[in-house]
Symmetry: C2
Subunit: 170 residues, 2 copies
């Protein structure tokens, strides 16, 4: 049988490319998130960072980056903005002068409680056009794929072992 001819150079190939679809979907997701949460002045990244700090009080920036799989450099400015909004505070660590420990402020904890319903509406809206069974299928496959590709990303997720050195002072 004849070998597959070279694909024609056409925009239609782009429309069907995984990378293109992932990009479009991400942009749609951000757009929906911002729309649902416009009353709160929090971006998706800032929201994830707040949740992570809430889950792991006293985490430092490097470990935070591993826990949410965000770039460490980027995270610096994210933290600055959260601090400027008085949602988090940074305290120097007594036993290591290099690191700064992150904590939610009272208003950080408050906005987190308030924004949760909007975030959940946003997450639901992203999948809403699909039938319930298809939503499950899509999320299941996507979870698998992200997990299996973890090492391919610049900042692999280290949900567990990133915290091994935390809170185990004994």
């Amino acid at each position: 049988m004849p070998s597959k001819p070279p694909a024609p150079i056409t925009i239609d190939a782009v429309y069907a490319a995984p990378g293109y679809l992932f990009r479009r979907m991400q942009q749609i997701a951000v757009s929906i998130f911002m729309e649902e949460c416009k009353a709160f002045d929090l971006t998706p990244v800032q929201y994830a960072a707040l949740i992570a700090i809430h889950t792991h009080p006293g985490i430092d920036a490097t470990r935070l980056s591993a826990v949410i799989a965000f770039d460490r450099s980027t995270l610096g400015s994210v933290i600055e903005r959260l601090q400027a909004k008085d949602y988090i505070e940074r305290k120097p660590a007594p036993e290591d002068k290099r690191i700064k420990l992150l904590y939610l402020t009272r208003s950080g904890a408050a906005i987190l409680r308030e924004i949760i319903p909007a975030v959940e509406r946003a997450q639901a809206r992203m999948l809403e056009p699909l039938k319930p069974a298809d939503r499950k299928t899509l999320m299941g496959l996507l979870s698998q794929l992200v997990d299996l590709n973890n090492e391919a990303s610049r900042v692999p997720l280290r949900a567990e072992d990133a915290l091994e050195h935390l809170g185990k002072t004994g």
Copy 2:
């Protein structure tokens, strides 16, 4: 039956959220693309723009933004960079002094031919961890979802009608 209690505020909820997975997958996809194409000095966005200009020679920036669903403001700098690399050229439109028509240069067309295999390797690698049947399922559902959410994005895709005013000079 009891109403569902409020979800605990935990990072685990973020890990399973569609928006978070879309973001992670997009970052992984870009990472793989850049790795496979590192010999070419082209980003995914620049690649898509080149392909679109190749498919629609003489397109203007606004229509280009509709054809690949990229933000118009962003596209300005993308075009600048492609022009600086001598991959495209801009010519003023004789009948409308506002717009500038975009064309591939000879070297733009050349790099497009050369980079295609690397791009296809990248696209294949993104899905490679899944079984073939699952790849099809995932891409099918994702295509549907992006399409059905088209209007939710800031720059909806207008593949067809964006070009209605083009090339129909008679």
